[in-house]
């Protein structure tokens, strides 16, 4: 191409990206440059061709619906799905693991719990749940969906309640293992955080909500109520955990 303007400047002019002075300058040049006139004509023709061909492809209605649904479940305060939840949790879990948190010298629940579930196990289980795809096996805000899901998977029936109105929406449940026994894990949301409530049966008498323990930014509370042992763990404040625990014993 011999004409300097035919390169990029012509396209900037064609796209209305030149300032007034340079546009006027280019127009003066255009009067005497055949090459530019031809190139400009081709660009115009190309544009109308592209427009006539109606190449723009709009998103299928189904896709829009699907995305809306995903957004809904990935919003913590309303609900969560394993698919959406693990995606953000993946990074959180990765960060936690990469920082190389060492779980040693962990106080035991043994004093109060013959099942020998240690805080370390509970916190490990909590962190494990934050890994991709691990948070919930059944993702639902509906207690009537979550509760029956445990049927036949455990030798006990965990109490499942949604506390959405109290600020702890039920997000779902899953099976987990603590102290070599199968437990129910109920997942609740609290603002931007997740709370695991582990539940398993016990023969011990009810105990009040144990003062919260804390380790490496995680809090847990422990209590026994009507033949069930509970341990709630999260990075939310101890007050929040206590509040949730109270909802269980009410």
């Amino acid at each position: 191409m011999s004409c300097d303007f035919c390169g990029t400047l012509l396209h900037a002019y064609f796209d209305g990206e030149l300032d007034a002075v340079r546009a006027a300058e280019f127009e003066r040049h255009l009067e005497s440059c055949r090459e530019c006139t031809a190139t400009l004509g081709a660009a115009e023709s190309m544009r109308s061709t592209l427009q006539r061909a109606q190449l723009y492809e709009t998103a299928p209605t189904e896709l829009r619906k699907k995305i809306r649904g995903e957004l809904k479940v990935s919003t913590a305060s309303t609900s969560a799905s394993p698919v959406a939840a693990w995606r953000w949790l993946a990074a959180a879990a990765a960060i936690l693991l990469v920082t190389g948190v060492a779980w040693f010298a962990v106080p035991h629940f043994r004093a109060t719990s013959p099942e020998s579930v240690t805080a370390a196990e509970v916190i490990d289980a909590h962190i494990r749940s934050l890994q991709p795809g691990h948070l919930t096996d059944v993702a639902s805000t509906d207690q009537h969906t979550v509760k029956p899901w445990f049927d036949g998977k455990l030798d006990f029936v965990p109490p499942v309640h949604d506390f959405m109105d109290e600020g702890f929406p039920l997000l779902g449940g899953r099976l987990d293992v603590l102290g070599e026994r199968n437990v129910a894990a109920l997942v609740y949301g609290r603002r931007k955080h997740f709370i695991n409530v582990f539940v398993w049966p016990t023969k011990e008498a009810d105990t009040p909500i144990h003062p919260p323990g804390s380790r490496q930014g995680y809090q847990w509370v422990h209590w026994r109520h009507e033949g069930m042992e509970f341990c709630a763990v999260s990075d939310v404040s101890a007050e929040d955990l206590h509040e949730l625990a109270q909802l269980f014993v009410q």
Partner: protein
């Protein structure tokens, strides 16, 4: 956990964020889909990638500073498409700037007019362009983005947008002229 922008930090967002996202970003789903479709040359792959990009955008929504939501979204869409291509069709990213392999004469407005009647052929011509040329054509001609928007979406200086667009148009004209000429000679 807080987000400082794309690529770093994750947020767990609440329903208020979602409402804002649905108001500001979701309306640009067509743009997201259209760009994905043309970068990936497939509607079904575009559905997957547009969805992934949209959810990624949501996760990084706190990093959005309230500017041009479409450009912000399209930048994420484009990155998601490139990641997808890298993973699934690396070859396409490697045949980028070999535009001078076939120096042909530009199409005349007449041959373009013939080609334009055939959406299929135009689509195919567009799809033969290296992805970096294709994207500027899509963004400029189909999406109507300004150079500044294209620069921010594709993370290159405005000057680069300008020259990429010039070369992309030239190549598209050539790609269109070729089959038209071939078909014309068949008819003779």
């Amino acid at each position: 956990m807080s987000s400082t922008g794309q690529g770093k930090g994750w947020d767990v967002l609440d329903s208020q964020d979602r409402a804002r996202f649905e108001q500001l970003v979701l309306p640009h789903l067509d743009a997201a889909f259209n760009l994905s479709r043309w970068l990936l040359r497939s509607r079904s792959d575009a559905e997957d990638v547009a969805q992934e990009a949209m959810l990624r955008a949501f996760r990084f929504f706190r990093g959005f500073n309230g500017g041009d939501a479409r450009a912000w979204l399209l930048q994420i869409v484009r990155n998601t498409c490139y990641t997808w291509l890298e993973k699934n069709r690396q070859v396409e990213l490697m045949t980028e700037f070999d535009e001078d392999l076939h120096q042909q004469s530009s199409a005349t407005p007449e041959t373009l007019a013939i080609a334009g009647d055939n959406r299929e052929r135009l689509a195919r011509a567009l799809e033969t362009l290296p992805v970096r040329f294709r994207e500027v054509i899509i963004l400029r001609e189909l999406e109507g983005c300004s150079y500044k928007e294209i620069a921010s979406i594709t993370s290159v200086p405005i000057g680069t947008v300008m020259s990429a667009l010039a070369r992309a148009r030239q190549r598209l004209q050539r790609a269109l002229a070729q089959p038209a000429q071939q078909e014309a000679s068949h008819e003779l």
